[in-house]
């Protein structure tokens, strides 16, 4: 008999004014009992609408059934047929707009907590599994992956499972892309990312860090050295600035720099050699998930007052609702319908304020969102000593500028055939933010999966 409760099982988490002072994970995960109880809310629908909402098409009712049967390892094996990074996805996917928004239980009440269950299964496996994964039989084909973010790791995992000899090239000293430099420890512990990467290594994926493709080796040289296909998953790491006066003052950061120092270089820890500015009053400009991450990190680094400054209204915030709620609980202030026009500094070149204008919303623009319009004479000054610009990123131009015949959009995105990920170059595939511009982890994973399938089709013909 299914559990007919209309609401999801709550997930235990750290109290807001405890967690806003540490970098430990906020959400603590289900116990076995909570997971089984939540799993019993699933009606095991025949037509499985939830699966169509998942970009990598995990057979959701099948793994949930294994949970109900207390077969947690079986549940993990079921998920891992479709996903290489379940512990990551269960944490950072926007399930409310994917699998869970299609769940039948969501019509009346809350949908089944698919993300939390996926996370439970992956964590259970990582803590309890004893058997090493089986290394697939090599098929003799070599594939190179550029970038070790979600797109690259997924593509690598899928190909390795099919017997390909896969090498992932990563520019930084640690693999994971945005999972290690962008998403903070308190949302996604780095040990979990490392564990997922170790699992990929154990099925034969080779990882080469400190390799900036385009500089140390070109795409053409990868082919010359014996790779038969290349997947570009280099992301959209180039930060945008507003081009307003004062943006190069000391104390102004791109969200990428602020998060890289905090997360990748662990500047929040005393034993890290990487410094970070200790600010008292921080303004984070932007309203996406990255802005929420930066604001919550700034708070944890000891800032007294952290504000999100966003030019539209709260209804248009692009961040996940859950992230906005978490930020508010932790004491982050929201200044909406506000846009900065100048950053001011003291005689030593440090930020000491930000001049802003109030906005109103006009007619909808091309994107369908109402366009913010400045209110005349509404200028006011915010008292801040640190500004973090989180207004988006675009694809890094390095691969494009060093690869002949690779077609890109004007704004830098690599042009691909949607159904295969094939670029304008034979044997070169691309996916994730390098193609779409900044999007989500799971969309990047979906693109990595699509390309892996297309690469397999191409190479297995040989």
């Amino acid at each position: 008999m299914p559990n007919m409760s209309l609401v999801k099982n709550e997930m235990p988490s750290q109290a807001p004014d405890v967690r806003n002072k540490n970098f430990s994970e906020v959400a603590l995960g289900y116990t076995e009992e909570q997971a089984i109880d939540e799993a019993q809310r699933c009606l095991n629908c025949k037509h499985k609408p939830c699966v169509s909402g998942c970009p990598v098409q995990i057979d959701i009712p099948a793994f949930i059934e294994r949970i109900i049967a207390h077969d947690f390892e079986g549940a993990y094996q079921s998920i891992s047929k479709s996903s290489s990074l379940p512990a990551v996805c269960g944490r950072v996917c926007p399930q409310e707009s994917q699998c869970e928004c299609k769940c039948v239980r969501g019509v009346k009440g809350e949908p089944v907590a698919i993300g939390r269950l996926e996370r439970f299964v992956a964590d259970w496996h990582n803590a309890n599994a004893t058997e090493a994964p089986v290394k697939p039989v090599p098929n003799g084909h070599k594939v190179a992956i550029v970038g070790s973010g979600p797109a690259g790791l997924t593509c690598a995992g899928d190909l390795a499972k099919k017997g390909y000899e896969v090498t992932v090239f990563e520019a930084l000293h640690l693999a994971g892309g945005v999972l290690v430099y962008g998403i903070p420890e308190f949302r996604l512990p780095k040990a979990i990312v490392q564990k997922e990467i170790d699992t990929l290594k154990s099925i034969g994926v080779k990882l080469e860090t400190n390799m900036v493709i385009g500089r140390v080796l070109s795409i053409d040289e990868l082919f010359e050295s014996g790779f038969e296909a290349v997947f570009i998953g280099s992301g959209a790491g180039l930060p945008r600035f507003m081009n307003i006066p004062g943006e190069n003052l000391k104390g102004v950061f791109s969200a990428n720099e602020f998060l890289t120092r905090t997360n990748l270089m662990r500047a929040y820890r005393n034993d890290s050699a990487t410094p970070i500015v200790k600010a008292k009053k921080v303004a984070v400009v932007g309203g996406g998930n990255v802005a929420m991450d930066a604001a919550r990190c700034a708070k944890r680094l000891g800032a007294e007052e952290v504000s999100i400054v966003y030019r539209r209204s709260e209804a248009e915030l692009p961040a996940r609702h859950e992230e906005v709620e978490h930020a508010k609980e932790e004491g982050i202030l929201f200044k909406v319908l506000v846009n900065p026009c100048e950053i001011t500094g003291d005689t030593n070149g440090w930020v000491n304020g930000m001049v802003c204008r109030e906005m109103t919303l006009g007619e909808p623009d091309a994107s369908g969102r109402r366009r913010p319009v400045e209110k005349e004479g509404s200028e006011f000054k915010m008292d801040v000593d640190c500004v973090i610009m989180s207004i988006g990123t675009s694809p890094n131009p390095l691969i494009k500028s060093t690869t002949k015949g690779l077609d890109t959009q004007k704004w830098g995105g690599i042009i691909v055939q949607e159904e295969t990920g094939l670029t304008s170059r034979e044997g070169v595939y691309a996916g994730g933010d390098a193609v779409t511009g900044a999007a989500t982890v799971i969309l990047a994973m979906g693109a990595g999966k699509t390309a892996a399938q297309a690469i397999d089709e191409q190479l297995s013909k040989k």
Binding site: F241, N243, A273, V277, G349, P397
Partner: protein, 280 residues
């Protein structure tokens, strides 16, 4: 992990290391740099590639002991390993078609200027090298520069070697005597590059500088290294590190380079104390 094949003290505060990094050695061109991390909890910092030995797969770096990270690097010995070493980064120095060039190297900046002088010299360009140091004890790469230059001029602040004065004094003398250069290439402390640019602007000589802002990733993803060049924001790690010196906002660059001054001073003291304790 990257092995330190050779280590050599060039003077009391400057060390040269040759690192085993065959892929980087094969590709690196003058003007490019690497980012390194000495150990697990170390920070990432940039150093210019001072030379390459393509045959043996070695990349030379020359660094001055200025803070915690360079102290930690200097603490490593021949045969030991450094954690991370990534490159070649940045765009190579533009050398094509140059016939007569003055290369200005200030202090340890001479280590970055030398590979450019060498390449130009090999291309048949007439190179005038002007190098400056605080005193004789700090002189580096004299034989190398002499071999790569048609003319080699040394200046010291205290007159203990070469002639007393600054590199800008030597350059001014040449320009006032009517010498012409296709280009002046200046590499060294920001203040030196700023004054070289002020001088060459007076004489209308094109000047390239190699900027050295704070960097983390060195691949264009954070903008920590941004500069204002001709009124536009540029990222030194991908758009540079070379820029038209007459367009660079040096005052802003000098302000930005001091962002972590207090932190760095404290970290340096702690590192020195730690190494002293170990030595006892």
């Amino acid at each position: 992990m990257f092995k330190i094949a050779h280590k050599q003290r060039l003077n009391p505060t400057v060390t040269r290391m040759e690192i085993e990094a065959p892929l980087i050695a094969r590709k690196a061109e003058p003007g490019q740099f690497i980012i390194l991390r000495v150990d697990e909890n170390g920070e990432r910092f940039p150093l210019t590639i001072a030379d390459t030995d393509r045959e043996n797969g070695l990349v030379s770096i020359i660094f001055q002991l200025v803070g915690a990270a360079t102290e930690a690097l200097n603490h490593k010995n021949e045969g030991e390993y450094i954690q991370d070493f990534v490159g070649p980064l940045g765009s190579p120095t533009h050398t094509e078609g140059l016939k007569r060039v003055a290369i200005i190297g200030g202090g340890v900046g001479g280590a970055s200027a030398y590979p450019v002088a060498k390449k130009l010299h090999e291309q048949g360009c007439e190179v005038t090298s002007i190098v400056g140091f605080r005193n004789r004890e700090l002189l580096i790469l004299e034989d190398e520069f002499k071999a790569a230059s048609a003319r080699y001029i040394v200046k010291t602040d205290d007159g203990s070697y070469g002639t007393k004065g600054l590199v800008t004094d030597a350059l001014r003398e040449l320009l006032e005597a009517g010498e012409t250069f296709d280009e002046v290439i200046a590499i060294g402390p920001l203040i030196m590059m700023k004054f070289v640019c002020a001088l060459t602007k007076e004489f209308g000589v094109k000047t390239t500088v190699s900027m050295n802002p704070i960097m983390i990733d060195g691949t264009g993803m954070c903008g920590g290294c941004r500069l204002t060049v001709g009124g536009v924001t540029k990222f030194a790690c991908v758009d540079g590190p070379d820029f038209d010196g007459h367009l660079v906002d040096f005052d802003e660059a000098m302000q930005r380079s001091r962002t972590y001054y207090d932190f760095e001073r404290k970290a340096h003291e702690e590192t020195c104390n730690l190494f002293q304790k170990e030595a006892k």
